[in-house]
């Protein structure tokens, strides 16, 4: 091993060759390990399935009380069905704040309430209280023969157990 005391002075040419060799080796190491690390990150990143719009039956129309609302689990997501003066509206029931499921809580002030941080939404899905940053996404809804059908956007889970 070299030490300051017994180091042999070298020609500058060999110094340069050694430096270039070190540089090439270091670069190869960084590129190789970096490439491998990128592959590992890709391995960890789940495959993102495309979003789909599907129509799902969401129960009977008369299950939604006048000027009230219900929250239905459709198996592919939660939907809030709200009656606004006879008009049926459907919203995603996932609170836009931090993802809890809202509850139907019809009052003069709001129609839907999130228990997690106190978010409140009116019959338009608009935020009327609490911290949610956005209105609830609205879904197209149709009533056929007394049956409610909602077109929801779903993203299938990556893996199911």
């Amino acid at each position: 091993m070299d030490s300051a005391a017994n180091a042999v002075p070298r020609a500058s040419g060999s110094d340069r060759r050694e430096f270039v060799a070190d540089l090439v080796l270091s670069a190869a190491g960084i590129v190789g390990l970096g490439g491998l690390a990128t592959r590992f990150l890709q391995y960890l990143y789940p495959v993102v399935p495309p979003e789909q719009v599907i129509e799902v039956a969401a129960g009977r129309r008369d299950a939604v009380p006048a000027n009230g609302g219900i929250v239905v689990n459709l198996g592919v997501g939660h939907v809030a069905l709200v009656d606004a003066g006879g008009e049926l509206r459907a919203f995603s029931a996932v609170c836009t704040h931090l993802g809890c499921i809202v509850k139907a809580e019809p009052t003069d002030h709001h129609a839907l309430y999130c228990a997690c941080h106190g978010g409140m939404f009116d019959r338009q899905g608009e935020v009327v209280g609490g911290p949610p940053p956005r209105p609830l996404p609205r879904y197209p809804v149709e009533v056929r023969d007394g049956q409610v059908f909602v077109k929801v956007i779903v993203r299938p889970p990556v893996l199911t157990a």
């Binding site: 704040h97 228990a115 889970p157």
Partner: protein, 345 residues
């Protein structure tokens, strides 16, 4: 083989440099350390060992699958012999670890032990504090009862609000768009694999730096006396560790761990609340808009990391008035007010 022959044989196989005892075990510590409050730095380390031992024991029965997780925790708590003790100790130690780390941080903060040249020790300490919270959060998710499930949903959703990198980070963490079966596997891995591994490396770095720098002198303390690390200080740390262990066993025996209702992804419970150590941020998120809540939290963490340098700048601007200490105390008070506000609301 005589004892001296054995000593020679061991010394030949493990050739420690001469004088190593004086540099390590018998290092002289400043006399101000000889009060109980200075034995708190070792407590989180002791609690971490408790967590490793009880955690390994828990893995013998825990099943990290949504269909079985809750049942396996129920089995540990109510079925397995002394399962209540192992799980109870793991739970109690996780709470105490946060208390111990906080007390240690407050002590270092007030005595300004983080100042040059010990900034990196502080930075590693802050990282260890955040990882402790990470361990608590991921561990809580594994119980898979209602509160645990929804705390995981809410906690991970915050990440999605970070611009650009947020959504992919959330995907990575959850293993999908929503909290799904993969999420539990990932959280289990973080809890028992990734975070503990980083934790051990950082603890080693933290302790190494403390020993390399030596203990910071206490401002205003002119005593030149010293006492050895071993056995005096080690004994004191051991006494604290023993008291903590006894207290935990007594507590868990008196108040065995409980289990809430099984996680139901369809129903957010009416009274949802995280564990007490997340109360300040939980209350903060309720009273400010989401983006404000998010960015002030990020700023708070960055502020903690860079505190040694910020304090040095403040000291240069207003010398001798300890402005930084007052700024810090202000933050502690705000945090405490938020915590108590949530606790009593």
């Amino acid at each position: 083989m005589s004892l001296s022959a054995l000593k020679t044989a061991v010394a030949e196989r493990i050739p420690l440099p001469p004088g190593w005892r004086g540099k390590t075990l018998e290092e002289q510590l400043p006399i101000h350390l000889k009060t109980w409050i200075w034995a708190l730095g070792g407590t989180p380390a002791v609690l971490f060992i408790v967590q490793v031992v009880t955690g390994v024991l828990l893995t013998f029965y825990y099943v990290a699958q949504p269909m079985h997780a809750y049942e396996s925790v129920r089995q540990i708590t109510f079925g397995v012999r002394f399962g209540w003790l192992v799980r109870g100790l793991h739970q109690a130690a996780s709470q105490l670890m946060i208390v111990a780390v906080l007390l240690h941080m407050i002590r270092v903060f007030v005595t300004r032990g983080y100042r040059r040249p010990r900034e990196v020790t502080w930075v590693i300490g802050v990282a260890l504090f955040l990882l402790t919270l990470g361990l608590a959060f991921t561990g809580y998710a594994l119980v898979y009862d209602q509160l645990s499930y929804w705390a995981t949903t809410v906690g991970t959703n915050m990440i999605a609000e970070v611009p650009v990198v947020g959504p992919p980070m959330l995907y990575m963490l959850r293993g999908g768009a929503d909290v799904n079966p993969q999420t539990l596997t990932r959280f289990y891995n973080f809890h028992i694999g990734v975070i503990p591994t980083i934790f051990v490396v950082l603890i080693a770095g933290h302790i190494l730096l403390v020993r390399l720098h030596g203990v910071a002198a206490l401002e205003g303390d002119r005593r030149a006396d010293a006492y050895p690390f071993f056995p005096d200080h080690v004994l004191r740390e051991a006494a604290v560790a023993l008291v903590v262990l006894i207290a935990m066993v007594v507590y868990v025996t008196a108040v065995p761990p409980e289990l809430g209702e099984k996680a139901d992804p369809n129903l957010t419970p009416s009274h949802i609340r995280p564990e007490w150590y997340f109360f300040p941020s939980y209350r903060w998120l309720k009273i400010v808009p989401l983006q404000v809540g998010l960015w002030t939290s990020v700023a708070f963490v960055i502020g903690m990391f860079f505190w040694p340098w910020t304090d040095a700048v403040l000291e240069r601007i207003v010398p001798g008035r300890r402005v930084g200490t007052f700024v810090g105390i202000g933050f502690w008070i705000v945090t405490l007010v938020l915590l108590l506000w949530e606790a009593f609301s």
